[in-house]
Amino acid sequence: MIVVVASGHDPRARSVMEHWGSQCAMMLTAEDLCMPGWQFTAPRPQNGMAVIGGKIVADAAIKGILTLRPCIFPEELLSIAAAHRRYVAAELNAFLLAWLAAQTCPVLNRPTAYCLAGPNWRAEQWTLTAARLGIPTQTRHCIAGRHAHGNFEEAFEITAVGERCFGCQDKILRINTLRLARAAGVDLLSARFSRDEGKFLSANIWPQLTDAAVAAAVHESLANRRENRR
């Protein structure tokens, strides 16, 4: 089973699951976390049980996990009394982080302590990382409280899934995307580069998965590889 960690209202999650069609994928929502059946032991996870799509499943039955959310927000916990939502959201996030980090199957992207879906870096940190890798960048200016100018210029976009790249065919830009992904410790990343000079513009750990080839590569990456990075 492939698990997609997302909100039930997330069209990206529904879209990617539609791409996968009859291949076995289930969505893990915040509602699932508030259902009986979860069993997670630490520091040595064993015989863990999860609740996915309302059904109790063994952790061992999960072949791969795609995480499409940074966290669970208090506002989405409609079944929890309003006064308790903030506390419950903190508890659910803490639990989901520990659970995701403990899974031995492929997880795209593996969680970090501050984001369920990997390093949720600010634009400035991506720029600094790119520049220090020697990737051409534009100086990024930020004034607190003032909206940064979006990089709306014409751009090449490349999506990396593991070691594979999709989108623009430029070899150097593809290599630079993979270098950024490695530096950030992620297997799933999209990066944008200016069309004129190939300068790095932005990166995103939640790429669009509407492209059938990207969705298929993500599925393949999750379904066909066992790993143990705990």
Binding site: L33, F40, T41, N93, A94, Y114, E124, A144
Partner: protein, 303 residues
């Protein structure tokens, strides 16, 4: 220059600021109560430059060599909470930008936000602690009351506490709790085997370890039920290998300052419960007489 970012009523931040003054360090205190009049400009390429605008004058970011951060939720400060919505939004953006800067600045930051984040999930953090060689209590997080009954049966004596960084009182599970087991289904809850023994608190400050012993018969010494359970705290050196392990643990988490909660069992095993990345160390400093704030000031001044 050293920047302290907090509010004056925070005892830890004030203690560090006072120690910096004693050491004659060039230091500035960014009082979050002044956030309405503050601003931040950043420029990032292969380096990080810019300026922090404060009511008592600007600071060039590249001149900051050390930072001690202990920010409060600015929106809860009275001066900010009473401001118009647009002003509150500006302050929230400043907080975010300053946190972002503290993540990427070349200055020595005590501690970087990303390094502190593991404290938001106790079972996640416990896997890191365990990997560094400390014993950690067997833990069950569950929404299943049968699983809880089995865990209780196995360990005989268990406690429950929050999973997240939200402060909770560690409480022993008793038969009276059984009537609440059905509510487990609403939210995963964390249970741990009860570990008997003596508590220790170790503050790692750079390469130094300040440890103290905490004597209390309370389940959670921070919240004694009776006066006679009030904790008695005194400085005590840790065995060399345990002190070294504390230093390694903090370093592995990227923490320059950490408050580590330990318990030594009667059979001399050392359990580690938690690593606090922003410890309110003054409570222990006052009781033990250990110069922790001075240690932090030295660490910052040496950057």
């Amino acid at each position: 220059m050293i920047l302290v970012w907090s509010v004056p009523r925070d005892s830890a931040a004030s203690a560090v600021a006072a120690a910096l003054e004693r050491w004659g360090a060039d230091a500035r205190f960014f009082d979050q109560n002044d956030a309405l009049e503050a601003g931040l400009e950043l420029a990032v390429d292969s380096g990080v430059t810019g300026r922090l605008q404060l009511p008592d004058g600007d600071i060039r970011l590249e001149e900051i060599s050390g930072v001690y951060i202990r920010p409060y939720e600015t929106s809860r400060l009275q001066t900010i909470a009473s401001a118009p919505d647009h002003a509150q939004a500006k302050v929230a953006a400043l907080d975010d930008a300053l946190l972002g800067w503290s993540e990427i600045t070349a200055a020595r930051v005590v501690n970087r936000p990303s390094a502190m984040a593991s404290n938001h999930s106790k079972p996640y953090q416990s896997s890191i602690i365990h990997a560094q060689g400390f014993d950690v209590p067997e833990t069950l997080v569950t929404t299943d009351k049968d699983a809880l009954e089995a865990f209780w049966e196995k360990h005989q004596s268990i406690v429950y506490k929050s999973i997240s960084g939200v402060r909770s009182i560690v409480t022993k599970v008793t038969p009276a709790h059984r009537e609440r087991f059905a509510a487990l289904a609403n939210c995963p809850t964390q249970f741990q085997q009860w570990i008997p023994g003596t508590d220790f608190r170790a503050h790692v400050v750079g390469g130094e370890v300040f440890a103290c012993r905490v004597e209390s018969s309370a389940t959670d010494y921070r919240y004694p039920d009776r006066e006679e359970d009030a904790p008695k705290i005194q400085a005590q050196e840790l065995p060399a290998d345990i002190a070294e392990r504390c230093g390694s643990l903090a370093a592995s988490m990227g923490l320059l300052l950490a408050g580590i909660d330990l318990r030594r069992t009667p059979d001399e095993r050392w359990f580690c419960f938690e690593v606090n990345p922003s410890p309110g160390f003054t409570y222990y400093e006052q009781a033990s007489g250990q110069p922790i704030a001075d240690g932090i000031a030295r660490l910052l001044a040496a950057a």
